[in-house]
Symmetry: D2
Subunit: 180 residues, 4 copies
């Protein structure tokens, strides 16, 4: 079987988005990229401003409510359907619940050939890059750096504190399964 | 049955996105918004830079290739799956093919209760707003103003050259079907 | 003498930026546009996050501290110098202090030929457009709609609740003074 | 005398903006940041679309016309005036003409205490980051990597292919002159 979905998991400011854009550039087939940031952009104000949705609180800690969880499940179900309809999809995600987030995602992607990718970045380096980008709440990078990988199992892991995004993308591309 | 999907169709700079944001604010349930601009943002460079994808040419005319069409079909299939999984979805679209675009979309949304909305705007007004927003290729608004509505059938139509976005949203909201 | 600086004053979501882009498109000479939003983007986090700078509080009310005021004075002094060095400049501003803001700006633009433009918009219409754009704190439009015009004297006034941006721009352009 | 202006020069995708944001975060006084990208954003369409202005051509090569040059001179004159009026200013620039660009800038900043900073980045690394960011014309990074430093003299030089942005910022901060 050949890879239909690439799930990229990493903390805020770990460099996932840059790797995803490089993957799109280096892979010969067209791959769509969709991330949790797109889901957040799709939400109504009621699910980003207040209880029930997603909020960023003290120290950049992210809170998730039931309304957000319900939207996320429908969203991922839809992405799975895109892949079953023939699209190659890269999902750019942040597993705030670690292994339990992976299990939830795995269940929704049932039957698809998924490549699980972990994007690591030293917490201190990610915190510095958070300052450099200037568009994220301070503290998100540090609070998520370890958390999102707890108990998660990967097919391939990269570290953006040690390698450039384009090199990480090449490493990931080398792990894609091709139909024989 | 109650409305599960709202499809908003209108030309570039007709004011669709503003109406969609107002709809999200005025509707009591949470509605996700997903548009053709999100699909374009999800595409790899190979499908936006060159043959096979989507390009904006002379006078803002948009060209569509087979690669884009294939991605769009999988994408809309996925959005339909989100709605079937329980999400309320507003699709912000541009029917470059008029009635044939609607038929293609209708087939992919099969079995869902869809409210079809036409967003009109005088071509000259839309062209002026295209200048005012400053982020679109000149000519798109004028070339699409009539084209996208050719042969399309709607449940409700609004005109942003005559009404504010929030009033258009209220008109649309009044047409939503609620389960008895 | 001919106009060297156009100062456009209006509340949040009154449609100033659209008018400014239309002015740049319709005027035959090149005009630079610089606004208070550019100053805010230039500030360090210490002047946008906390005391001493600029913050948006309850109901979209904007608070200004001494640090912001000092930066703004140097900034406007610099824009005046750009105009004295030969650039045509459109300043997109929000006179939170009404007449006193105008006096402060007038003093810094000393010796330059300035066209003062007021951009009005019904408070209710501006509040609706604030929802439609979706990127401003709720309440800014309503709280600023009248406030910013208190005691201010204009060479020309336009109303975006009654006219399109490009028509407002043409009205303003007709008031530019040309050297005989 | 103490440093009034920091001029940061480096090629496209060399990481200047990230360093500038880190500098603003680590320096105790408030520093304004203004860059050539802000000038380009201030220009009318006539100076970015066509002859006389600035354009990005084949291989990301940037062409500069007389209209752009005139606007740039007035712009830098204004930034110098901001600094003379008491603002601390960080200028984020790209010396397409190398030493001659520096001379032009130096003349306009006459009488100010300027810290000249060179931001280096290996051409191949910058080209990879250009792909990762996904919002620049392909080729700009490679074509500017060496070009912008030709004959330029610096007070301090950093290399983002070897150090993180926040560390580069600390190196630069250590070179600021303080009034005794």
């Amino acid at each position: 079987m050949s890879t239909q979905v690439i799930v990229i998991n990493g903390g805020s400011s770990s460099g996932k988005s840059g790797i995803v854009r490089c993957l799109q550039a280096v892979l010969p087939d067209p791959w769509l990229r969709i991330g949790v940031d797109d889901l957040i952009a799709a939400l109504p104000p009621a699910l980003t401003d207040a209880g029930g949705g997603i909020q960023v609180g003290e120290q950049g800690r992210v809170g998730i409510g039931e309304g957000f969880r319900a939207a996320e499940t429908a969203w991922t179900t839809g992405i799975a359907a895109m892949a079953r309809a023939g699209a190659h999809v890269i999902i750019d995600d942040v597993f705030l619940g670690g292994a339990s987030s992976q299990e939830r995602t795995r269940a929704l992607l049932d039957g698809l050939d998924v490549l699980w990718v972990g994007v690591h970045c030293d917490a201190a380096v990610a915190a510095g890059r958070e300052i450099a980008r200037g568009d994220r709440v301070s503290g998100m990078a540090a609070s998520q750096a370890e958390l999102v990988h707890e108990g998660v199992r990967y097919d391939v892991e990269v570290d953006t504190s040690r390698s450039e995004a384009v090199d990480c993308a090449r490493t990931i591309a080398a792990h894609l399964r091709e139909r024989p």
